[in-house]
């Protein structure tokens, strides 16, 4: 167990160089709300911690092409305090609000929530359904990757050893779009999703759903993006029949395990219940968000 080294580079290029040069396990430190806890409980023993909070530009939320760009070091609380973001992306804010306690939210970042690669991460399903794109920086420059392609298995991401998420882009939503996220936990807060469901949908002038995305958290090794669920809504007025179809598709899309947080059987049932509730909430929002 070599000693731990802590670095706080002043640029992304330096951070990438340090990652590339490291011999042993490394971790990026943003809020640290997962990394520090995992170190304390001996789950990980990194040799190098790279704190990205000193890198200029990673702390801002800026308007871009009618959408938003969110820096990788932006805290959950900062997102919750951003009025325009809250107005257009209530689903993402619902997910962000559920991360840990108030104190944890003051530190935790959405980038960290994504890179921790837990299938139960609350901000990930609504980011996916909102079409969020991660900007990943490495030695050869940047590439844009849809967030659903970042986690590949519990605790594992598609990032190379010397790559860092720099920011997220949330594209502008079409008119009459709405998103929502809900999770099921036995406790009201300070808990991990047993099932989480995010829905984004867009209506036309007649109230018919023209586009939909549905993502299910904690029911598979990574967040499940279900086209069957989306198809259950598209072309309908999100009526009872569509919701019934959605609920069945949500249950069918689950690939859960039995674990300390819930049983397989329970997760499959509750995914259907939540899908229906979340779709109704997204519908309500699509009708009211211009």
């Amino acid at each position: 167990m070599p000693d731990l080294r802590y670095e706080a580079p002043g640029s992304l290029a330096d951070a990438v160089r340090m990652l590339a040069a490291a011999g042993g396990p490394t971790r990026i430190l943003a809020g640290g709300t997962d990394v520090i806890v995992q170190m304390e409980t001996d789950l990980i023993e990194p040799e190098l911690l790279i704190d990205i909070k000193k890198i200029p530009g990673l702390h801002t939320i800026t308007a871009e092409n009618g959408g938003f760009r969110i820096g990788a070091a932006v805290s959950a609380m900062k997102m919750m305090d951003h009025a325009a973001l809250c107005a257009t992306h209530p689903g993402i804010i619902e997910g962000v609000k559920l991360i840990g306690s108030i104190q944890v939210k003051g530190r935790a970042t959405v980038a960290g929530n994504l890179c921790n690669a837990s299938p139960g991460a609350d901000s990930v399903p609504p980011m996916i359904t909102a079409g969020a794109i991660a900007r990943v920086t490495g030695p050869n420059g940047s590439r844009d990757v849809p967030v659903e392609q970042i986690p590949v298995a519990p605790g594992k991401t598609s990032l190379a050893k010397d790559e860092i998420i720099e920011s997220f882009f949330l594209p502008a939503l079409p008119r009459n779009s709405g998103g929502a996220y809900q999770r099921f936990t036995p406790r009201t807060e300070m808990d991990i999703a047993v099932v989480g469901v995010a829905v984004n949908l867009t209506l036309d002038g007649a109230g018919v759903c023209t586009a939909a995305r549905v993502a299910l958290g904690a029911v598979g090794p990574t967040v499940v993006v279900s086209d069957e669920c989306a198809q259950a809504l598209i072309g309908t007025k999100v009526d009872e029949a569509a919701l019934e179809k959605l609920a069945a598709a949500a249950s069918a899309a689950c690939r859960p395990i039995d674990d300390k947080r819930g049983t397989k059987e329970f997760r499959i049932k509750v995914a259907a219940v939540l899908a229906r509730r979340v779709a109704q909430q997204a519908l309500e929002r699509a009708r009211h968000i211009a």
Binding site: M1, E40, F266, K269
Partner: protein, 761 residues
């Protein structure tokens, strides 16, 4: 010298100035600002960090431990194993204790300590742990107590034979520590009189006490064998005597100073790291601090017993309960010590029932040894009892409180365990529950209401304390009983009431074990009662002495002086025309009278009056997910007399919150490998603030005649009916009364589906 125990003198007409008010606790400021020193805040120069190596197996023979590589690591100052502890025969009290602290022949649960290291830093200590080589011969394990009772179960202790077993069962190897029968009357005759018989099987899971402060201690052992130990404990004197036993050390050379306690609830009545830190310190010749992590707390320290019970009860059409038959199983971890005998004694004590049969079993298995927890083993069994009582009330068509009133015991009741009660307040408590706003309000639509009742003995026991008057007339109280819930403030209040001075002129401190005589563990809801006796007795001794000194100063006979409102006054104008002497006036002159004025008292306190509680719960169930929300919760309980009503309410509310956790989500989850899967608060789901409503309280005051202020213990009674009341309310929501805890969403959802299939709910 006589004490107040012999002439308690409860005076119902006395008007109080301080008792019955709720001043800000003297220790409150430090706790709110972070200045209070908890065990882990202690620091000694040159102190080392101690860490445990724990077994990864739930059951294995400990074949070989090689510490040579760890000892050679720079920075490592001592490594200890079983070889550093005196051998004590297995199967004895001391033998179990020493094996609990450090495994000897076998490891009995995942997390059982097998070695410990003291090093100059935590990271070196952790590295050293990895260098210790342990050879295990893994054995089959058993977690569930009912499985542990089966003939083909792995046997933990070859020497174990069931105490109290008869016939061939008494001879065979077993995991059943004891079989205990406690009965009265004739249940066959009783059931024959019954118009209605109800029955059920119930199970509850072990629950951790969940104190915020993990155990921490520093031991410093001098070359001549003087031990100084700082730790968080509910039982300094008990720790000292047990250390004497397992370390073969003189008690007089062990000085234990208790720190502020960050919660105990019964869990800090047993030591874990303390003996190990002493042995490490002796070997390293330096102070050693050991602080458990939360994972170690959940993996290594005691929860309370899980239980399985089979109950049958019968009543007449008019609601009279005529017979109860109970078979109760208590899981205790690898060693006896569940205090299960509380359960058959307390489970029905509040009802007048002629025919009762109870058979209880205590069973070992491969999980952490259980420890005390508020009314140990009682709430688990009340969970079933009060469910059946509700069912009987419903089936005979009576209001649930009226049904309980019909069977309620009163003064003069002779309990199943032989005690005859003096004045008790169960009927008053039931009537107060009936009259309270919650019970009178209609059940809101979509919700279910449940009620349940509970009882706890309340305890007394050996207690010692001192009191000293300072030259400025202020008073210092020295207590040996740990302050788990604000008892120091209650002591200051009782002393201030006796003296008739402002409570701010009195302070209470906690002594170390060399500074006072023996104090029994702070447990059993005994402290405010027992140390309260000591405080009142000591204060009255000081008052008598103040009168003697005043008589001396005035040169009048002692009987010519009276004491009131903090002053000595002439008993009448015949004595002389002396201006009153304040406590300060007399205290400032003690050099010229007879020296310092102190009070002291020691007693084996008896007469702690029993307590009774009624809980009323409204809950709502999401029938699609099985999620329970507790909407309204009221506790009605007899406190005898609330010294500080705010603190009594805190006891009630805390118990309700722990009951909600136990009822809804808290459980230990084991894999097939016998390893605990949720040793963290993230997945060991204690309730958070937003999970619980404001808990309303109604304090009933039926004075305990044995105490000068009439108080009864309030720490444990309020947990006893909690899970039963919650389950009764959930049952009212869904149509089937849950019989298994926790009522977690997956379990409850199945029950909801079962109820729907049966057309209930």
């Amino acid at each position: 010298m006589t004490t107040i125990l012999e002439k308690p003198g409860y005076n119902p007409d006395k008007q109080y100035k301080i008792v019955g008010t709720s001043p800000v606790k003297h220790d409150g400021f430090d706790k709110v600002t972070g200045r209070a020193k908890f065990a882990a805040d202690a620091f000694l120069p040159g102190m080392l960090v101690g860490k445990f190596l724990r077994s990864p197996h739930p059951h294995a023979i400990l074949k070989r431990i090689d510490i040579s590589k760890a000892e050679k690591l720079p920075g490592v100052k001592a490594v200890v194993t079983r070889d550093d502890f005196p051998e004590i025969k297995a199967g004895t009290g001391g033998g179990d204790m020493t094996r609990l602290v450090m495994a000897r022949e076998k490891v009995y649960w995942e997390g059982h300590p097998v070695a410990a290291v003291a090093a100059t830093s935590e990271s070196i200590a952790k590295k050293a742990l990895k260098l210790i080589e342990v050879e295990y011969e893994v054995l089959p394990h058993v977690i569930d107590p009912l499985e542990a009772m089966r003939d083909d179960a792995p046997i933990l202790h070859d020497y174990m034979r069931t105490k109290g077993a008869k016939g061939p069962a008494a001879e065979k190897k077993t995991n059943v520590v004891e079989r205990l029968e406690l009965s009265k009357g004739d249940i066959e005759k009783g059931f024959a009189q019954a118009d209605l018989i109800v029955e059920g099987s119930y199970d509850t899971k072990p629950m951790h006490q969940g104190y915020i402060e993990p155990q921490s201690c520093i031991a410093s052992v001098s070359d001549d064998g003087q031990v100084d130990l700082w730790c968080c404990t509910q039982a300094p004197w008990v720790y000292r005597d047990r250390l004497t036993e397992i370390l073969k050390w003189d008690s007089s050379k062990i000085r234990i100073q208790q720190s502020e306690l960050g919660g105990g609830f019964g869990g800090k009545t047993t030591f874990y790291a303390e003996p190990v830190s002493i042995v490490l310190s002796k070997k390293a010749k330096a102070p050693v601090k050991m602080t458990l992590t939360r994972i170690e707390v959940l993996r290594g320290t005691g929860p309370v017993s899980g239980t399985a019970s089979k109950l049958r009860m019968g009543c007449k059409k008019d609601g009279t309960i005529v017979a109860v038959d109970a078979e109760l199983v208590f899981q205790t971890g690898p060693y006896s010590g569940s205090a299960f005998t509380n359960a058959p004694q307390a489970m029905l004590t509040r009802y007048e029932i002629e025919n009762v049969k109870t058979v209880s079993f205590e069973v070992v298995s491969n999980r952490p040894k259980v420890s005390s927890f508020r009314a140990p083993c009682v709430p688990q069994v009340v969970f079933g009892v009060e469910g059946l009582i509700d069912e009987m009330a419903r089936k005979v068509g009576m209001d649930p409180l009226d049904f309980r009133l019909k069977n309620a015991i009163v003064e003069g009741h002779k309990t199943i365990y032989g005690e005859t009660f003096t004045k008790i307040g169960f009927v008053e408590t039931l009537k107060a529950a009936k009259a309270c706003d919650h019970y009178k309000s209609p059940v809101p639509k979509g919700q279910g209401r449940g009620i349940a009742c509970g009882f706890w003995f309340n305890r007394g026991g050996e207690t010692t304390g001192s009191m000293a008057l300072a030259p400025d007339g202020t008073v210092n109280i020295i207590l040996g009983t740990a302050d788990v819930a604000g008892s120091r403030m209650s002591m200051s209040m009782m002393a201030a009431e006796e003296f008739g001075i402002p409570v701010d002129r009195v302070r209470s401190q906690l002594a170390d074990t060399n500074s006072l005589g023996y104090n029994r563990v702070t447990a059993g809801s005994r402290t405010t009662y027992s140390s309260g006796m000591i405080v009142v007795d000591s204060a009255r001794k000081i008052i008598a002495e103040l009168c003697r000194r005043a008589a001396k100063m005035w040169n009048v006979p002692e009987e010519g002086v009276v004491f009131e409102d903090g002053h000595c006054r002439p008993a009448s104008s015949n004595v002389g025309d002396f201006p009153p002497l304040s406590m300060k006036d007399i205290a400032a002159k003690t050099t010229y009278t007879m020296g310092a004025i102190c009070g002291h008292s020691e007693m084996n306190v008896t007469g702690a009056g029993p307590g009774f509680a009624v809980h009323i719960v409204d809950s709502e169930v999401d029938k699609e997910t099985g999620l329970v929300s507790i909407k309204r919760y009221t506790i009605v309980e007899d406190a005898g007399k609330a010294i500080s009503p705010l603190q009594v309410e805190g006891q009630f509310q805390g118990a309700a919150v722990q009951g909600i956790g136990w009822a809804l989500n808290e459980e230990y989850i084991y894999g097939a490998d016998g390893k605990l899967q949720n040793p963290a608060f993230l997945d060991y789901r204690m309730p958070v603030a937003s999970d619980v409503p404001m808990i309303d309280t109604v304090i009933v005051e039926v004075a305990n005649p044995k105490h000068p202020y009439g108080l009864r213990g309030v720490g444990e009674v309020p947990l006893t009916p909690a899970m039963a009341a919650i389950a009764n309310s959930v049952g009212a929501c869904i149509g089937i009364r849950p019989s298994s805890l926790p009522m977690s969403p997956p379990r409850l959802l199945k029950l909801i589906e079962e109820a729907k299939a049966k057309g209930l709910g």
